[in-house]
Symmetry: C2
C-alpha cells in the first residue's frame, strides 16, 4: 500500500512473522502514529498466513511517523512515515455529532442519515451482494444497518459463505430449535481461540464497497437471531471481548464505520446492562477515531443518555415521540426501525409504503431521522431487509424526494418546537398527535400534515421578514410555490388531501 494517502483514508502496514504460538491470543501489536506533537496509538491484528497488519486513518494532512511495538521481535520497532494529502471525491471524513442533535462529516459537510437495513446482505455470496451494491448505487440511502454475524430467522435459513471462527458447523438447523435452543448448551463446534481472517476480510470489503458509494456502515456487533445455529449470541464473555478487540483493530480505520452494539439488545437475555456498558466502554477505548456508537432496542430503550452513546438508535413506530426523545436524551435520534414496507405476515414487515413514508416525514419534521427497510415476499426468499437484492416498494422514490428536502434545510437541521406557546405563535397547534412540525430558528419552518387535510392554515411569521412558502405533496413528490415574499399573519389555502407538508423559508 502506498505511503501517500488521503486524509480519512487508511494506511495499512503489513508485517510478516513466524510464530508457533496462537497469534490471536499471544501476539501483541500496536503502533504509535505521530503528527507533530500528537500521537495516536492503534492496535494491530493477525490476518492469517503469518501476516500482521496495522491500519491507521489520519485526520491531518502532512507527514505522520509511525513506530510499532510487539512481543514478537519481528514486529517490534518497525518505523516509517506516511504522507497524508487532501481528501477528494466523496471523502468528507467520518460522521460526527454536531450541534447536539445532528450529524456532519468531519470536513463540516452536513450529513443527514437516511438509512436502510439489509441485515446480512454481506453473507449472501458474490452474485447477490453485487446486485445489492448495484441497487444501492441508485437508491436514496446513505447508511446501511448490517450485521457482523450471520443471521438465522424466517427467510434466513442459508449458511454464510464462511464463519468468523475456525471450526465446522455440526448442527443441522431445525425449526424446533426456535423453541428450546436456550435450554440446550450453546454449539461447541467453534475454536473460539482462532478467528477466521477470511470472514473479516469479506466484511472489510463490504464496508469499503459501501464507502465507495458514500454509505455509512452501521455495523451491528451482536444480535439475537441465532437460535442455536451457531451460538454467536451466546459466546463466553472473554470471547466477546476478544471479538470486539479484533473487530475494532481491523475496521476502525475505515471512516464510514458506525458501531451498533446490538440489534434488539433486550432480546439477548444472556447479556445484561452491565455487559452492554462494558462493550460500549471497551470499544470507546479501543477505537482511536471515536466512531459513532449506538444500540438498538426491541421493547425497552437502552438509556441513550449514557455518556458513551453518541446518538439514539430506536425501534419504534411512535414517531411523534421524537420531540420527547430529543429532550430526554439530548442527542441525535435515529429511528432505525419503525417497521418495513412489505407484505409478510409480521406486523413489523407489512407496512404500506404510505405508512412508512408518513413515519419518515413525522420523524424528520420533528428534528429526528428515520430508517428504511423492505420485506416484500418472493419465492426466492430474498427480502431486502435481510439479504439485499433489489427494491420493489413505493417508498424509496419518496424517501429520495424527502432526502432532497432534508438536505435543503439550513445546517445543522431541524428542531422540534419547545413549547406550546412557541408553536402557537408561529404554527398554530402544529404538534398534535398525527401531525408534526419543526423549525430552524426563524429561517425555516416545516409542518407535515400526514393524514390531516386542512383546507387552510394560519401562520404568524415574524414581522418584517420575507418568506416564501411551498406546499409539498410528499406522496406525489411535487412542490408548489404559493407565496413569494410574505411575513406576519399569513393564511394559506391548501388542497384538501393527505400527506401534504408546508415549507416556509426565509428569503436570502
Amino acid at each position: 500500500m502506498s505511503n501517500v494517502i488521503e486524509k480519512w483514508d487508511y494506511f495499512e502496514l503489513a508485517l510478516k512473522a513466524d510464530t508457533s504460538d496462537n497469534p490471536f491470543l499471544d501476539m501483541t501489536l500496536e503502533a504509535d502514529f505521530s503528527y507533530q506533537h500528537r500521537t495516536i496509538t492503534v492496535a494491530g491484528f493477525y490476518d492469517g498466513d503469518q501476516t500482521y497488519r496495522v491500519r491507521f486513518m489520519p485526520d491531518m494532512e502532512g507527514t505522520w511517523r509511525y513506530v510499532t511495538r510487539s512481543n514478537l521481535a519481528a514486529l517490534d520497532g518497525q518505523q516509517g512515515e506516511i504522507t497524508c494529502v487532501a481528501p477528494s471525491g466523496n471523502n468528507h471524513g467520518p460522521v460526527r455529532v454536531i450541534d447536539q442533535y445532528h450529524f456532519a462529516y468531519a470536513d463540516g459537510t452536513p450529513y443527514h442519515p437516511v438509512g436502510t437495513t439489509c441485515y446480512v446482505w454481506n453473507h449472501q455470496g458474490d452474485d447477490l451482494e453485487a446486485q445489492t451494491m448495484a441497487t444501492l448505487k441508485d437508491a436514496p440511502f446513505n447508511k446501511m444497518r448490517m450485521c457482523v454475524f450471520p443471521k438465522r430467522y424466517t427467510f434466513n435459513k442459508n449458511e454464510p459463505p464462511c464463519y468468523p471462527f475456525e471450526g465446522d458447523v455440526k448442527r443441522e438447523w431445525d425449526n424446533s430449535l426456535l423453541d428450546d435452543y436456550k435450554s440446550q448448551a450453546p454449539p461447541d463446534f467453534w475454536n473460539f481461540k482462532r478467528f477466521n481472517p477470511e470472514y473479516f476480510r469479506k466484511l472489510e470489503r463490504h464496508i469499503l464497497d459501501l464507502r465507495q458509494l458514500g454509505i455509512e456502515a452501521d455495523l451491528i456487533i451482536f444480535h439475537p437471531y441465532d437460535f442455536g445455529a451457531w451460538g454467536f449470541d451466546r459466546m463466553p464473555a472473554e470471547v466477546n471481548d476478544r471479538y470486539l478487540q479484533y473487530l475494532t483493530a481491523r475496521v476502525s480505520a475505515f471512516r464510514n464505520v458506525w458501531w451498533s452494539f446490538a440489534n434488539e439488545y433486550d432480546l439477548m437475555i444472556d447479556l445484561d446492562l452491565n455487559d452492554w456498558d462494558h462493550y460500549f466502554k471497551m470499544v470507546q477505548a479501543n477505537d482511536p477515531y471515536d466512531h459513532l456508537r449506538s444500540i438498538h432496542n426491541c421493547r425497552e430503550f437502552y438509556d441513550h443518555s449514557k455518556p458513551w452513546v453518541t446518538h439514539g438508535s430506536i425501534q419504534s413506530s411512535e414517531l411523534l415521540e421524537m420531540p420527547d426523545w430529543l429532550r430526554q436524551y439530548q442527542k441525535p435520534m435515529v429511528v432505525d426501525e419503525c417497521g418495513y414496507e412489505g407484505d409478510i405476515s409480521r406486523a413489523w414487515g407489512s407496512l404500506s409504503a404510505e405508512a412508512l413514508v408518513e413515519y419518515f416525514w413525522l420523524g424528520f419534521a420533528c428534528g429526528g431521522y428515520v430508517g428504511h427497510g423492505e420485506t416484500y415476499w418472493n419465492q426466492e426468499e430474498v427480502l431486502w431487509w435481510s439479504k439485499g437484492g433489489t427494491l420493489h416498494g413505493d417508498s424509496p422514490a419518496r424517501i429520495a424526494f424527502l432526502r432532497q428536502m432534508i438536505e435543503a434545510v439550513p445546517a445543522p437541521g431541524l428542531s422540534p418546537f419547545d413549547s406550546g406557546k412557541e408553536i402557537h405563535s408561529v404554527i398554530p397547534e402544529g404538534v398534535y398527535k398525527g401531525m408534526a412540525c419543526g423549525h430552524h430558528g426563524d429561517d425555516y419552518y416545516l409542518i407535515y400534515f400526514a393524514r390531516h387535510q386542512p383546507r387552510f392554515r394560519l401562520f404568524d411569521l415574524p414581522e418584517g421578514g420575507s418568506y416564501h412558502i411551498d406546499i409539498i405533496d410528499t406522496w406525489n413528490m411535487t412542490i408548489e410555490r404559493i407565496a413569494d415574499a410574505v411575513s406576519g399573519h399569513v393564511e394559506i389555502e391548501l388542497p384538501s388531501k393527505k400527506y401534504l407538508a408546508v415549507r416556509v423559508e426565509r428569503n436570502p
Copy 2:
C-alpha cells in the same frame, strides 16, 4: 299525563301552587315512589308559572304508589298510583355497564356505543335542529355528546335562542376576550337565583327527540368554551351545585341520559379535582337511576378508576393504548374524541376519513369504543361537530358498516389479548403498533391491519373447533368468506391492501 306508562318511560306529576318566595331557592319537593317493599325518592322541581313537577322512571312492571313531601302545603302529601306496563318498540331501558368492560340496556340487550358529537346542536333554532334530527335518523350513531350550556368558540359565535338563567346578555362578544377574559370579572348579568325553565324544557325536548331515535344523550354538564360570553364556566360554587340539583331533578327520569361532567375538564382552570369529585358524588346521590357517569379530558386523564366513574371518556388519538387503559381502569373505555373528519385548520378537525375510520377500528378491535365528529368547513359555518346539520364525510358509511360488525360480536363484546403468549398462540404478533386485535374467548377473533398489508397470515386456532374466516375490507365495506370449517394451524392468503380486517368465528 297518563298514569299508565311503560317501564323505563317516565311518569310526570304536575302540581300547581302559589308562592311569593323564590321557588327555585325556597321550595322543597320530593316524592316517594313505592313498589311493594321498595321505595325510591325523587326530587321535584319548579317549572315556572306556579307549576311544580316530579318525574319518575319505573323499573318494574306493576303498580307503583307515590306520596309527595314539600314545605309548601299545596304540594305536600299528594298521593296516587301509576301502572307500569311492559316496554315496547326501542325501549330497552337505560344503558348500564356489564361484564366490566361493556354496556347493555337494562333489559339485557347489548349496547355498543357508536357515538357522535354535535356539542350545541340543541341551541341552533328549530330549523337546523330539525335538520340534525333528520340526519341522525339515517346515521349510524346511537349516542350524542351534547352540551347543556351554549358554546362560544371558532365557528360558534351565535347566541342560543334562550338562556339557562334569568337575565340579559349585556356583553358584546369580541375576539380579544379569548386572550384576557380570565383576567376580567365573570359576567354579572344573570340572576343566578332564578333558572329559566324554558331553557330546560328545550333541553328535555331534545333529549326525548334523541330517545325517539334510540340515541343516548351524553349530556356535557360543564365545558370551558365560554370565554367570557356568558360566564357559565365560572359560576359561583353554590350556583354550580344548584344547577346540578335542578338538572338532575329535571332529566334523570329520561332513560337515555348519560352524565358527562365536563368536556376537557382540565381546561376549566377555576375548578379543581376536588370540585369534580364533588359533582360526581352529588349527581350520584341525586340521580335515583344511576345513569352512566364520565368526564372528558384535554391533556390529563381524570382518574377513571374512581368509584363514581362508570366508564372512561377519553380524548386521545392513541387508540392502541386501549388495552392499557382497559387494564388500568378496569372499566369500559369510550374514546369520545380522537379527532374529527374534516378540513378545518386545527389538527383535531382535519382528519381524513381514512384516519378516523382507522381509529374506530383500532379502538374497537382492542375491546373499546370510539366516537365520531365532523368538521368540514362551509360558508354558513354550520359544522356538524358543533351545530349539527348534515353530514358530508366519508366516514359515517364506514362507521355504519363497523357498527354491524360490532353488533355481531358475541355479547358482551371483545377483549384485548392479555399477554404476549396468548397473542402468539392464536394470532401471532397480533398487537403491534399500528395494528390491533381482540377476541371473545375462543369463539371470536378479530384482527385489524390498518395500514399493514400482509399477503398471508398464520392462525393457530384451538384444535378440534370449527371456525369460519372472513376478510373484511373496512374501507370498501366488503366481507369475503375465505374458510368455512377450519381449526388448528391455518394459513390464509390476504390481498395486499390497506385497511383490512380478519374475522374468525366459531361455527355454531
